[in-house]
């Protein structure tokens, strides 16, 4: 029996984060889980919206929760860290502050606020699916080197439900379960700057340079992310960083769903592996288009 989850993609997964959506859907299909996209979902009311008008930002979130509830979903899978945080914050603040609860009152969402649980795929795979089941479905061995798991900020902070806020390890555990070695590094929750690369460009790029440099210093051959914005920031500016600093990282920046999906037998195209900007050489080598070496796990 296939379990069905509600699915809130968010704006990024339809654009710069297309590979995240592709690989997530492929991975869930391989695990016999089904994701049902919310009908006519709207913007989550992320960081930028919150800076203008808090009350209606919560209203935006609440509308999505209402749609999920009406469709009968108990769990809402939210792959983007920013969406995850805002939806979770809406539930938390509506429970804590009567004035915020009042601003949502009257909308179909009001009753549904606590009925829907916000889930991140990383935590869902860890808790609901479990490492044993993922291991048992593994069909390919990892050909690449050690990777640095980068959790970014908003998934683990401030609610720390998806993982521990200070030292998250669940992505490392998931990847190790399919035989991918991971390095231990201190910057795994340091902020990538979010939209700063688009606004105060130099500052944003600098933050990503620090992350890339530290990951490389620890011996990582790739960075693995759980958020579309982190992936974009680390991936898109490596050529510019090389021009500025003379350091060529050529570091693939992957989604954890791409690596897990590959281990479970997904093909390169359905995992969106052709959408990377940096480190394309390594990606082609690790994830060959034609794979004869499919090894069925004992």
């Amino acid at each position: 029996m296939a379990a069905t989850y509600g699915y809130f993609p968010g704006c990024s997964l339809k654009g710069t984060g297309a590979a995240y959506e592709e690989s997530l859907l492929t991975l869930f299909r391989l695990l016999d889980l089904s994701l049902q996209e919310l009908k006519d979902w709207n913007c989550c009311g992320a960081t930028s919206y919150m800076s203008i008008d808090e009350n209606s930002a919560f209203g935006l979130s609440a509308r999505n929760l209402g749609i999920a509830h009406e469709a009968g979903h108990r769990d809402l899978v939210t792959p983007c860290s920013a969406c995850y945080l805002v939806l979770r914050k809406t539930q938390d603040y509506a429970a804590k502050y009567p004035q915020i609860a009042k601003s949502i009152e009257g909308s179909p969402a009001a009753a549904a606020l606590d009925a829907v649980k916000i889930r991140h795929p990383m935590e869902l795979l860890y808790n609901d699916v479990g490492m044993a089941r993922i291991k048992s479905k593994m069909v390919r061995k990892w050909k690449g080197g050690p990777v640095a798991c980068y959790y970014g900020c908003q998934l683990v902070r401030p609610f720390a439900e998806a993982d521990r806020a200070h030292d998250p390890t669940r992505m490392d555990e998931l990847l190790r379960a399919v035989g991918v070695p991971t390095v231990d590094w201190a910057l795994k929750t340091k902020c990538c700057g979010g939209s700063l690369t688009g606004t105060i460009h130099e500052v944003g790029v600098r933050l990503n340079y620090i992350l890339l440099k530290e990951a490389a210093r620890k011996g990582a051959k790739a960075i693995v992310t759980i958020c579309p914005l982190c992936q974009y920031n680390l991936d898109a500016y490596q050529a510019e960083i090389r021009k500025e600093t003379g350091e060529a990282f050529d570091m693939p920046v992957l989604y954890f769903t791409q690596i897990l999906g590959w281990a479970l037998g997904g093909d390169a195209k359905s995992l969106g592996l052709g959408r990377a900007i940096s480190g394309c050489g390594s990606i082609k080598e690790w994830f060959p288009k034609r794979t004869q070496e499919v090894e069925v796990h004992a």
Binding site: G15, M50, E54, G194, T199, H201
Partner: protein, 200 residues
């Protein structure tokens, strides 16, 4: 008197402190009553927030100083600072604060007030991005990265579009750039739900 004023303005000598009557202590109280800002007066000024903030080295005041400015009623200084806009809301300060103050929410609250009072630094791209994002979501229910960046660039410094075009091309090449404006079907319903929910 006029001459004296001109002299002061022409030199680097400026008063950095406020006289007590100039400080807006009532405002400080108001801020502390907003959702998420209740811990304001329990701040120890330990500086853990500024130490852990990945952006504090670029700020005009670090988060610790912002808290201090708010508490002492330095309203204009806090609201017109670049600090509140540089905050990328990574919540590092909030998680590490020994007093569990939601510093990120204080920053959000100041951002909103700065927009309402038009006190944000002019031509600083971050508040412009926030405003364009807000307008776009109100009109269409979703944001489109391409149009958002384009609008922000046109309003701040159109020349940066030249430097951005390289990244834009990379995104286009890998099929990650959507040129159309994303829109929900039920915009009317969303707008009516939002109506009357503004703070302004």
């Amino acid at each position: 008197m006029k001459k004296l004023k001109a002299f002061w303005l022409s030199s680097d000598m400026r008063r950095k402190m406020k006289f007590q009557r100039e400080a807006d202590l009532q405002w400080a109280q108001q801020v502390a009553e907003r959702p998420g800002c209740e811990g304001l007066f329990s701040c120890l000024q330990c500086g853990t927030c500024s130490g852990t903030c990945p952006l504090s080295i670029y700020m005009d005041f670090g988060p610790r100083k912002i808290i201090s400015l708010v508490r002492e009623g330095f309203r204009e200084e806090a609201l017109s600072s670049q600090t509140i806009w540089l905050c990328a809301s990574c919540y590092s300060c909030a998680v590490h604060c020994p007093r569990q103050i939601h510093i990120t929410d204080v920053m959000y609250s100041l951002k909103r007030e700065a927009i309402q009072q038009k006190l944000y630094p002019k031509r600083f791209p971050i508040p412009v991005l926030a405003q364009e994002f807000y307008k776009m979501v109100r009109r269409y229910g979703r944001s489109s990265e391409f149009w958002l960046v384009l609008r922000m660039a046109l309003r701040t410094n159109p020349f940066q579009l030249l430097t951005m075009s390289g990244t834009g091309w990379q995104l286009m090449r890998t099929g990650r750039l959507r040129l159309g404006q994303d829109k929900i079907e039920n915009v009317k319903e969303l707008q009516s739900q939002m109506a009357g929910r503004e703070v302004r």
